[in-house]
């Protein structure tokens, strides 16, 4: 089932000359885990916000083409209506704290109260979101007393508690230490396996390669490629788009190792291990 259909999407922010998104078209199936990569200002965040309707509703500006999410035309649907289907986690955790709640537990309830979710349903949803992100022990803390990493987990949990069909995450692990960011990726993967459609912008290519079903490469507002991580990261023109392949792929490239079945470079630690350990010059 097509969960997201984007056709010929063009967008320009008000008071700017260049298109932030230029003729972008793609389709995403339910339950897919999609990674979005590209250099800074390539249009990744703009695309995220276009899936949520913040582009064009919040910013205005010039908009062309169409974005359809779960059958709803985004340009003709209000953000608060889309919020029932799509969740968006931003990069900066501090500005995602609502500021009106005294505890982490209540902070997670904020979105649910706005949606009018019955009280009895709220609590299990909040508790499972907190457990998934590993923040149960902070339930009674003031949201602003959390560290950057903990706040980032809370921001993700706050959106997950709203139980969207689609979750869009814009560099959600920037403040986390290595193991923390691994835990968050695993949590998101668990949701994806339960059928949630995941779209994630991230500069950590090793994680994108390991967790994504497909990778979208953007540059100057255009969609350059949208394919499996192996295919995208085996392109020989990545440098031109300001991207470096995952370290494991670069090692295999240095050694001239390709996966025999596909002729592509291995991307993940496990795949690279299988090939490297048996490698002889």
């Amino acid at each position: 089932m097509k969960k997201i259909v984007v056709e010929g999407l063009k967008y320009r922010y008000p008071l700017t000359a260049e298109l932030a998104l230029n003729d972008v078209s793609f389709e995403i199936e339910k339950g897919e885990f999609i990674g979005i990569i590209g250099r800074n200002l390539a249009g990744k965040s703009t695309l995220c916000q276009a899936l949520m309707g913040l582009v064009p509703h919040f910013y205005k500006g010039a908009y062309g083409g169409s974005v359809t999410v779960d059958g709803l035309n985004v340009a003709q649907t209000e953000i608060c209506e889309l919020a029932r289907k799509v969740g968006l986690v931003f990069q900066n955790p501090f500005t995602q704290v609502s500021g009106s709640k005294m505890t982490v537990y209540e902070e997670l309830a904020f979105g649910l109260e706005n949606l009018g979710v019955p009280r009895a349903e709220m609590m299990p949803r909040i508790e499972s979101a907190m457990a998934l992100l590993g923040i149960e022990r902070f339930g009674k803390r003031n949201p602003f007393d959390l560290s950057g990493g903990q706040m980032q987990r809370m921001a993700i949990a706050s959106v997950i508690a709203m139980a969207p069909d689609i979750i869009v995450l814009d560099e959600p692990t920037s403040q986390l230490d290595p193991q923390g960011s691994e835990e968050v990726f695993q949590a998101i993967q668990a949701l994806s396996r339960q059928g949630m459609t995941v779209i994630m912008v991230e500069h950590k290519m090793e994680k994108i390669a390991r967790y994504s079903d497909r990778v979208m490469l953007l540059d100057h507002g255009r969609l350059v490629d949208f394919d499996t991580p192996e295919r995208v990261f085996s392109r020989d023109d990545l440098a031109q788009y300001g991207i470096a392949a995952p370290i494991f792929a670069r090692i295999c490239q240095g050694l001239g190792i390709r996966t025999p079945q596909t002729g592509l470079y291995p991307m993940t630690l496990d795949d690279a291990y299988d090939q490297v350990v048996n490698w002889h010059e």
């Binding site: 919040f58 608060c80 919020a83 968006l88 501090f94 609502s98 500021g99 709220m122």
Partner: protein, 255 residues
């Protein structure tokens, strides 16, 4: 983090009384002495408030508030005692300065009234979480947007002081003196306020995006995580308070 709130989490019986009842109590504490005039009613209300503050174990927090208002009240007593327009009868003299009975009585009435209001408000502020108070008001029909503004101000202002500290650190790290003479402090103003303004512009926009994502503008009937406290005792409290106010009016009319 220091939230902008005087709330004391003691979990006493008084804490469990719903915020609307406490608001009603403030109304009664102001209304009844005004209607009944004279000292007795005001002193009685003040006594009651103090007793409730003791029950809520927050009396210690009220002392500095009373202490601060005392500074003002003492000056009122002195000024009225000396210069009240209706002053006739000298009550006592201090080093040749005469204090008059009428002025002192008048100022004593003001003192009782001020302390009375202060204690009644303290009862609300010290024993109610600000977010609970605002939530109750939203339930009673206050616009959720206005409610949000009220409660977020309480948290985001302390948050801004945190940002201010970071910015101060960043500029001191670049060799800027922030302490010393007035001139030094004035010179430090722009490098501090510039980033504060830019930061708050940026974060206000980001926060409003984040609020939209969390369905802040939704027109769905809002629900609440915390249960509304509709216990019989809360209803009884409200009825008693309303009845007391009505009785005061009746007493005034009859007598």
């Amino acid at each position: 983090m220091k939230a902008l709130s005087l709330y004391q989490d003691n979990g006493t019986l008084i804490h469990r009384v719903d915020p609307i009842s406490k608001l009603l109590y403030i109304a009664a504490a102001i209304f009844i002495p005004v209607v009944l005039t004279g000292f007795t009613a005001g002193l009685a209300m003040l006594g009651l408030s103090l007793m409730l503050l003791v029950l809520a174990r927050v009396l210690r927090k009220v002392v500095p508030l009373i202490g601060f208002s005392m500074l003002v009240l003492i000056s009122v007593v002195i000024i009225q005692g000396l210069f009240y327009a209706g002053n006739r009868q000298v009550m006592f003299a201090l080093g040749g300065v005469h204090f008059y009975r009428e002025g002192l009585l008048f100022s004593a009435a003001i003192c009782v009234r001020v302390l009375n209001i202060l204690c009644a408000f303290a009862l609300l502020v010290l024993t109610t979480r600000p977010s609970d108070l605002i939530e109750s008001l939203v339930r009673q029909g206050l616009s959720p947007h206005f409610g949000y503004v009220l409660s977020s101000v309480l948290q985001i202002i302390p948050q801004m002081t945190g940002t201010m500290e970071t910015i101060t650190d960043a500029q001191r790290s670049r060799g800027m003196e922030t302490e010393g003479s007035l001139m030094v402090r004035l010179r430090a103003f722009l490098p501090l306020i510039g980033p504060v303004v830019m930061n708050s512009l940026v974060s206000t926009r980001e926060r409003s995006l984040a609020l939209e994502v969390r369905a802040f503008s939704s027109r769905a009937q809002k629900t609440f995580l915390n249960e509304e406290r509709v216990s019989t005792s809360n209803r009884v409290i409200k009825i008693v308070l309303l009845a007391a106010m009505a009785a005061a009016v009746a007493w005034r009319v009859v007598s």
